[in-house]
Amino acid sequence: MEGVSKRYGGVNALTKADLTVEAGHIHGVLGENGAGKSTLMKVMSGVVQPNEGRMVLDGKEVSFANPAAANAAGIVCIFQELSLVPELSVADNICISNPPKRFGLIDRKAQRRIAEDALARAGGEDIHPLAPVKDLPLSRRQLVEIAKALVRKPRILILDEATSALTAADVRKVFAVLKRLRQEGLALLYISHRMAEIAELADECTVFRNGRNVGTFKSGTKSDTEIVEMMIGREYSHVFPPKPAPRPTDTAPTLEVRDLCWNNRLKNVSLQVRAGEIVGLGGLDGQGQRELLLSLFGVLRGCSGDILIDGRKVTLRGPRDAKRNAVGMALIPEDRKTEGLMLPMSVRDNLSMASLRRFAKGGVVDRTAENRAIDEMISLLAIKTDGTSVAVGTLSGGNQQKIVIAKWLMTRPRVILLNDPTRGIDVGTKAEIYQLLRKLADDGAAILYYSTDYDELVGCCDRVLVLYDGAVGRVLSGDEITERALVSSALNLGAGAGEPGRPALAGAGR
């Protein structure tokens, strides 16, 4: 098998990216959240088609219309969003695309042998091949996913954060498998944000940033610090507004949370947010940040602990309670397309959705007042839209996100919760959102801000709570908030330890 090379580019999240993968090598791909790693992989595996660029396999140009075509060409992916069918058993899933047959029917005994064999190779001997996938915990599912990929006899195997939910012991087993596959002449593409893993496995590394390949180098030729510099990059600087002087800590907090627990995912979280403060939530993705925001908004059932607004205890049974005047909360949800907006509905209908009661008398909407408030919001946030009656789905991502924020500003909230509001939007809009948040804070709002982008936490926040495994691991404030400190505390390393590595515990589950 000769060397394999691929070229393509031009997908929104990926601009003119190049990558070459050789047989018998493990190629590490590094990059921050949203650097384009996952898109790259989706293109290679035929899940999405590139707008421009080309892919070359064994010297021949190829294109894949769907995952089946990519599989046929020997390219197999292990997806971050798992591609397992929940109702089918482990063995059924492992052999799903090409089960062993006898007389044209699936041979369940042979299938089971294959599955057991593959599970053993992937290090999941403890998984019962007949167990339905939906009953397995995430870490086991990931092993099944790996076993499923092995059965397809791939020539190129792509792993996207394939170890993110595994325990340290499982990771060692998987690594052994991957190294053996390398010896067998496979080309492996290993995508991760964990440098320790890449350092151990990879022969070459490529760093992605903002959808571009910013450098490929032999493993071991660059220090961790150099790699981090490449990942973070400095060629665009966020336009962050200046931070005000630290507020006196003796003022009463607008939002106070005491010992919040939920379902083993939140463990005794306590925090305070004062009027005028932007408090960041940091940590690796999936450490309970999302759950914390949802529980504050009354969405989660069975929370224990107290939520106080202006020193008064409140009980919230849902968003309806949370947006009451006495509470005045707003939540900018994680996924604007499914949780924030009704895409086919008009800009106007979306904007006034949360605050409609304000313009209504006896349930009848006062159109004039509604339109006036909407026009105000549109000009305040500089939303670019062709009138208020166009469907929100036709706007750009940045403008959509502005509408989600505007929708909640129309309720005049005093406590604003944001769940990664800048994901997937352009740099210009990001800067506008930073300015807006600071302005809202200056006007007296208390803001709790979760972001997966460490740069933003550094640039925007007065304090940052770093969550680890559902609990507040560390609180950084003022000058302590640096990217280095955020990374090391996200990985739960001791204070001051700058070396990013994999957490000792299996805490990185999503």
């Binding site: 069918v85 929940p86 109702e87 695309s97 699936i106 167990a131 915990p137 969405v299 949780e339 515990l505």
Partner: protein
């Protein structure tokens, strides 16, 4: 996520096999208990004749329930099964007659008609990308209209020897209908379940996204499911002709079979969300549904109360799944 490697012994296969067939086994158990009670209370006690009556009533609905199962497994729904059944009934009253050869040819013709009806549904739903509910309501109207064209008035005839044999008893008092049903299942369901086709149908119903990511032929599988549904409805249509000796385009019958097929499927442990359950369960679901009526009869419940009681039992059984709601901790999951 702090799960440790659980020591699972591979000797515990039975646990998973039980889990896989839980719905079916539960339906079987409920049916056996109900039927036992019925047999005990039956005026003349347990007899071949009693089984015979119960079987011929049950098999008809069972066939339609199996037809419905195929489509429901893909997370769709077929509201035209009853109409296909009636259409095939009317068609059979013309062509399933005469010499043995003619009769066989007639049966093949009716089966082909059912298959074609299913194929029409499949093409519109898959390639026309319309919702299965509306599509099958609309095509159901067409099928029923054709049935009415064939038989504006009830009438026609059927090969009586065959009909008598099919609705009669085999030596030993075993009802032929039940045996035929078992044979049909062995010929159609078992190979389906064990083939790649069946695997893909389950995968599509469980998670279309994952099935696509795994590179499966989604459309082909869905299409086959609709075709099989039409085929099974056609078998039901032939069988009803054997029972009644006539063809009748009765909209009441058509609607009742459609609606009862959904009830039977749900009672038999097939998930309306797709991907879970088995046609065997659906058969027991159909038998349970029929036995409820019989039970009310032997317990001397006022016949006027029977439909209400049946409705309430049905409503209650579809609500059983709601117990899972108590376990949901994140209210957003309610809207998934």
């Amino acid at each position: 996520m702090t799960d440790q490697a659980l020591p699972i012994s591979h000797g515990s296969d039975w646990r998973y096999r039980l889990g896989e067939h839980y719905g079916t086994l539960l339906a079987l158990a409920v049916f056996v208990i109900m039927f036992a009670v019925y047999a005990l209370k039956y005026p003349t006690g347990f007899s071949a004749d009693m089984v015979q009556t119960a079987a011929s009533k049950g098999v008809l609905l069972a066939l339609v329930a199996v037809a419905q199962t195929f489509v429901v497994l893909t997370a769709g729904i077929d509201l035209s099964v009853g109409m296909i059944l009636v259409l095939c009934n009317c068609l059979a009253s013309y062509i399933v007659i005469g010499s043995p050869v003619m009769t066989v040819l007639g049966i093949v013709g009716v089966l082909a008609a059912g298959l074609a009806c299913g194929a029409v549904n499949g093409v519109i739903v898959i390639y026309g990308r319309l919702q299965p509910i509306v599509t099958t309501i609309a095509t159901g109207a067409v099928f029923f209209g054709i049935a009415l064209l064939l038989r504006p008035q009830p009438g026609g005839d059927v090969n009586e020897d065959l009909a008598d044999w099919m609705t009669g008893q085999l030596p030993g008092g075993i009802p032929t209908a039940a045996v035929v049903l078992v044979v049909i299942m062995l010929v159609i369901w078992v190979p389906f379940r064990k083939s790649m086709l069946g695997r893909v149908v389950y995968a599509v119903g469980s998670s279309e996204q994952a099935a696509y990511m795994s590179g499966l032929h989604i459309r082909r599988a869905k299409f086959a499911a609709y075709c099989l549904s039409g085929l099974l409805s056609a078998i039901g249509g032939i069988f009803i002709t054997f029972v009644t000796y006539t063809g009748e385009a009765s909209s009441a019958n058509a609607n009742a079979y459609t609606l009862n097929s959904i009830a039977a499927v749900v009672l038999g442990g097939v998930s309306l969300f797709g991907g879970r359950g088995s046609a065997v369960g659906a058969i027991f679901g159909a038998l349970i549904f029929r036995t409820i009526g019989d039970l009310l009869f032997v317990f001397d419940l006022d016949p006027l109360w029977q439909p209400l009681f049946l409705g309430v039992v049905l409503l209650f059984s579809v609500c059983l799944g709601s117990f899972r709601l108590f376990r949901i901790r994140n209210r957003l999951e309610l809207f998934g």
